[in-house]
Amino acid sequence: MNRAGILEKLKDIFKIVVNNGVDIASVTEDANIGLDLGVNSIGLLYMAIAIEKEFGVDMADVAPSTFKTVADVIDYIEKH
């Protein structure tokens, strides 16, 4: 799956776990997880669990500091 495909699948995850009124359809790789998407620590935990479920990626070494932007999330998925 290429980066665009990963981003689209991530948007589906954000729609489920980032339920705070943010326009998910317009999210780009540059979006800041905390500032733009409004994801707090528990939201990040939910996001990590959903990524594990959807992509089959081991999220064991993820900490809230691991991801600053959506691009960081895509990088992580590609590397794992």
Binding site: K15, I16, V17, N19, N40, S41, I42, L45, Y46, A48, I49, A50, E52, K53, M59, A60, D61, V62, A63, P64, S65, T66
Partner: protein, 140 residues
């Protein structure tokens, strides 16, 4: 397993303790004389997992002075399954300096329960997995 409950009672050596930190609870094992063994500092979940270690610390490094420290009171069934308090303390101390932290697989609560029951368990993470399952069900 029938669960016990968290209460605001006096600390005792070997007690499983926790404090609220943001959206989560930080867990540790009280070892007496104002000291605690904890897997990372309260805000270490926000730092690089590889830098988080099991620490023997003064209680002042576990929480702020005005934080409420809760103590886990075991159910009758758990009391039969847990190690003795002195064994819990020895277990906790034997891991001081170790790493391998993971917020999902090996966090401060997993560590405390490992010292107490010999099993890595985290009610917070189990709850988060259930929450995500519920979110997916609602979406469908």
């Amino acid at each position: 397993m029938k669960k016990g409950e968290w209460q605001l009672i006096d600390l005792y050596p070997g007690a499983h303790i926790r404090v609220k930190v943001g959206n989560f609870y930080h867990h540790g094992i009280y070892i007496g004389d104002g000291e605690v063994v904890q897997f990372g500092l309260p805000f270490d979940m926000y730092t690089d997992a590889k830098d988080v270690k099991v620490l023997r610390s003064p209680i002042s490094d576990f929480c702020k002075p005005d934080d409420f420290i809760e103590v886990y009171v075991y159910s009758r069934k758990e009391l039969k399954q847990k190690f003795k308090d002195e064994v819990i303390i020895a277990n906790a101390l034997s891991h001081v300096g170790e790493g391998g932290y993971s917020i999902i697989k090996n966090n401060c609560e997993h560590f405390a329960n490992f010292c107490i029951f010999g099993k890595k368990m985290s009610g917070q993470i189990d709850g988060a997995y259930k929450d995500v399952e519920e979110m997916y069900k609602k979406e469908k």
